[in-house]
């Protein structure tokens, strides 16, 4: 959990993203630190969390969480965390492997069946809610993998619609979703997915690499946008960041200690 990031996102003790939908996009830079942040942040707030990991294995998330002084194993045993191994599901879907038999298989005529997958996540969320008597948080890292294995954009938008309806319908759950969106070489499909999600969400975090290329001292830029709600205008903040071993530092553009 990075306290600087909480300040940037205007997260305080009273407001920790209840009922909000956060979309994180990465382009030419690694935005996964935001996912690790949100995972450890919500666990430390004693919120029940359902995590779907498509981009890394459970061990990876666990190792990073330990660095942020958060124990995923303990949370898992106590029932606070449900981890869905997305990588296995992707492997099954791509290879047509029917090893997972019966109702658990998300395969349906070699297509990844999003409807079945939604029902699977929904049952995890429902059991979390019953056991922890709190509205759960759903984190998906990263939705673009479902696009890469062939799910169409309308299907994915519908899938997100359902998850959003499920998680935030009571106004207390939260939904964090990461995607890849290469802004520079314009990929129309992922751009369309990004725009659709931006219309649904309340907060977007765009992580982009520097235009001038890789730098050892500045790892990228973060653009935070709170979407306009009602008569209020949308608010944006732009900052540059550098990832450290156990922390991340933020500074205004061009104000890196390496430059000054």
């Amino acid at each position: 959990m990075f306290s600087d990031l909480n300040n940037l996102l205007a997260i305080s003790k009273e407001n920790h993203l209840q009922g909000e939908f956060v979309v994180i996009s990465s382009s030419k830079a690694d935005g996964s630190f935001l996912i690790h942040h949100f995972l450890s942040f919500f666990l430390k707030q004693n919120k029940p969390v359902c995590f779907v990991g498509f981009s890394q294995s459970y061990n990876h998330y666990n190792t990073v969480a330990q660095k942020l002084s958060c124990n995923l194993n303990a949370a898992k045993t106590s029932g606070q965390l449900v981890f869905i191994e997305g990588m296995k599901l992707l492997g099954d879907a791509v290879s047509g492997n029917r090893l997972v038999k019966g109702d658990n298989s998300l395969m349906c005529n070699t297509d990844f069946d999003l409807q079945k997958f939604f029902l699977c996540i929904k049952s995890s969320l429902d059991s979390l809610k019953v056991n922890q008597s709190q509205d759960p948080v759903l984190i998906i890292d990263n939705l673009s993998f479902l696009h890469y294995i062939g799910c169409s954009i309308p299907q994915l938008v519908m899938f997100v619609n359902y998850l959003l309806g499920k998680v935030t319908s009571q106004g207390t759950g939260s939904f964090v979703l990461a995607i890849y969106n290469d802004m520079i070489s314009v990929d129309e499909e992922s751009d369309l997915l990004w725009k659709n999600l931006s219309h649904l969400c309340s907060l977007t975090c765009q992580v982009t690499g520097l235009e001038s290329g890789y730098s050892k001292d500045v790892h990228g830029e973060l653009l935070i946008t709170w979407r306009s709600r009602d008569v209020k205008q949308s608010q944006t903040k732009k900052t540059q960041f550098k990832l450290l071993d156990k922390n991340v530092t933020f500074f205004a553009s061009g104000m890196s200690s390496a430059v000054l």
Partner: protein, 299 residues
């Protein structure tokens, strides 16, 4: 113009409201909703996009009893229960089969938004549905249909199809003035057939009343402004490239050394005797170019 359309003083059967990610059309849609509740018996509000709670946030409570919300968001694809309202539902039949459906009512229909219909059911279906809603609901007089569309999610072709059907198109534009929160470009087709275009700035009150409407100069005044901005490369130079008339006259007076000049010829002839001199007097066929004296050389 925008206040006339919102309040119903300017009649319009089908209104299309176009917004995008950075400029949300939500507040304008809510202005229409509150105004429609004053004019009709019932407003049927189809919500496909955000949560119905959020879609009704901050609407004055005295308006709410005339708004009937139809939630198409919770089960948008019919995954949970195919009989509930979803993108595959025939909206005309759905309205006709409502339990509270009363004949001879004046109703308005608001769809927030048609983007899911366009995304999942394509444009021809969406256009057909909207036009049937306007004309084919049994025994019901439809005062106005308002559709919100997120125009950045669709290609221009799909949006153009919708635009052709509508009598008013309101596009949310970025506001150029800090004292105005909203700016809309309007294309309104009057019942008489006259087409009116305008670009307006305005603000919206907490109770969704439109105020402070002011016209922005139309975009056709822009071309002259662009001509002005064509850059003159000879401006701002540290030296002078052009000549004034006086300077040009002065230049023509200058006698160059190789030119015929009687005074100088006489002076030279009288001064030096026995030395060979060449004097050249250009004839008519010679073409002297002051700027490039060597141009007759074949280099």
């Amino acid at each position: 113009m925008i206040d006339d359309i919102v309040s119903g003083r300017e009649k319009s059967e089908l209104v299309l409201l176009e917004d995008n990610v950075t400029h949300s059309g939500g507040p304008v849609l809510k202005s229409f909703l509150t105004s429609l509740t004053q004019r009709v018996d019932k407003v049927h509000y189809f919500v496909f996009d955000p949560h119905p709670q959020k879609a009704l946030e901050n609407i004055p409570s005295d308006c709410l009893n005339r708004i009937e919300v139809h939630d198409g968001f919770q089960d948008i694809g019919g995954w949970l229960d195919s009989s509930s309202l979803n993108v595959n539902t025939d909206l005309v039949k759905y309205l006709e089969n409502l339990p509270g459906h009363l004949a001879n009512q004046v109703v308005a229909i608001v769809i927030n938004s048609v983007s899911p219909l366009l995304l999942h059911r394509r444009a021809p279906y969406t256009c057909q549905t909207i036009s049937r809603l306007a004309r084919q609901i049994h025994d019901v007089d439809v005062e106005q249909i308002l559709c919100l569309v997120h125009q950045d999610l669709h290609d221009n072709h799909d949006v153009a199809q919708l635009e052709h059907m509508c009598s008013t198109i309101i596009r949310i534009e970025p506001s150029a003035h800090p004292q105005f929160n909203f700016c809309t470009g309007i294309l309104h087709k009057r019942l008489s057939g006259k087409i009116v275009r305008s670009l307006e700035h305005f603000n919206i009150r907490e109770n969704y009343e439109v105020y402070d409407v002011s016209d922005v100069k139309m975009s056709f005044s822009k071309p002259p402004a662009q001509q002005e901005t064509t850059i003159d490369p000879t401006a701002n130079l540290t030296f002078n490239l052009s000549l004034t008339d006086e300077e040009r006259a002065a230049r023509s007076q200058v006698k160059l050394p190789y030119m015929h000049d009687e005074n100088r010829q006489d002076a030279t002839l009288s001064k030096s005797v026995g030395e060979g001199k060449i004097f050249y007097q250009p004839d008519e066929a010679d073409d002297f170019d002051d700027d490039d004296p060597d141009d007759d050389l074949d280099i």
